[in-house]
Assembly symmetry: C2
Amino acid sequence: MNDQPIGVFDSGVGGLTVLKALAGELPGEQFIYLGDTARLPYGTKSAETVARYALQAAEALSEYGIKAMVVACNTASAASLPAIRDRMEGMPVIGVIEPGAEAACRVSRSGHIAVIGTEGTVRGGAYQEAIHRLRPDARVSARSTQLFVALAEEGMHEGPIAVSVARHYLDALFEPTGAAASSAFASGAASGATGAARGTIPDTLVLGCTHFPMLAGAIRAAVGPTIRMVDSAATTAKAVSERLGANLRASPGRKTGVRFLATDSPERFARVGSRFLGQTLAATDVELVDL
Amino acid sequence: MNDQPIGVFDSGVGGLTVLKALAGELPGEQFIYLGDTARLPYGTKSAETVARYALQAAEALSEYGIKAMVVACNTASAASLPAIRDRMEGMPVIGVIEPGAEAACRVSRSGHIAVIGTEGTVRGGAYQEAIHRLRPDARVSARSTQLFVALAEEGMHEGPIAVSVARHYLDALFEPTGAAASSAFASGAASGATGAARGTIPDTLVLGCTHFPMLAGAIRAAVGPTIRMVDSAATTAKAVSERLGANLRASPGRKTGVRFLATDSPERFARVGSRFLGQTLAATDVELVDL
């Protein structure tokens, strides 16, 4: 048994969707959530800058006596997971890319998988690589859907505007011909498409950013009812549960607890974060920390 | 005569709309533009964090031997102009809020002025104060239109989605009754409405963010043909020209020059910035600097 907290790190409030899944999967655990709101978003920044920020944040979080760390931000997982693992010396460090890729490979029948994420996540190619490691013949069509982040933060994740934006990004990804799919890549920020199943449409869509589950309804309206959607929050929570052997579990009967840290504006963290967490946070629930 | 460069500081690429206006207004001058792209956007961050970042950037820019500084970012102007002026000891430092407020007061007939900006600019109330200083009986209706920033950065500033987003934000601001206008304030991030002309609709709209001129067409489609639109880029360029007395002007016959500095990703600065500047930049035109 180990009653130390689990650290959850994100660039801002998006990772609260992962925290929510973790709290559901691991009752009785204590969590410390750190949102690097002073430097968000990570999704439009270079891999070098994201890695520098993420390492600083991970080190700050490790000083709270945590027993494991979850890198909830897809962009940070893509840019810096190996570096964070090196620095944390033996502590379990779980990112969101590998669990998401595993889930996509498991549910896809055709092997043609679409991935959407921030500019940085898509450009870095981490999902594409993780999927190909597990399923070398998979075809991966990837596209940056950067505006989804702002829509979710602004509370505009539902309704006709959200659906129009989803169609703007996704229509070309889910067109039936290989040629049309190629044109989607050219207009996206970056992409990779390799492997089998050319000329098909993807049967699976990975929501490769913690903000995107907020837009699940609009995305579903754009892609139709048959596409399998993979939300890495749920799959990451299961992966964390598997990595916590008996010696790292909380004692039975404990009440789940969460402590919230942010590097800027507790008021905005609480206001915007409440939507992502699905429960009301007050600014006084959030501690301001300096990295 | 003074052939030292004019420093232009912005949180990212939005200030390139101001740089473009400056280069048009002040031919023969040398400009050094610094975009703090590693920490953008400023618009969703607290005033304290914005002021800290802006002061660091202003100090870095001052080391390039500049003769005057333009704070092109509305959020930074709102949060930190007095502090930057203090630190720059006698160097002319020109922000974008006062020129925008002056232009709005000049063109508004009714005295009812609408201001749109980032969360931080609207919440801080700097436009509202600047307008009331010049025209104490003015009524100011202010609203944060945060998604405009992401639309402009993503190249989605035109077309039906941009117009729908503009209507989403602006319809309530430009409704004819006082009651409806009040409901617009409640749904915005922050607002102030004081002074004369209650129950009227604004006759003037201040584009209080450097990103918003990119959306001028969509905003015009939403507000109709009669509203006067004030873009602070042009008015700021005129204000800078007035502040540069003969002793601070460039020698006649010099060729205008611009040097671009960014704190992250020259590639993205060039790609997204080209749209704002209206001419093609290459990544190799942009120097990476560390603050």
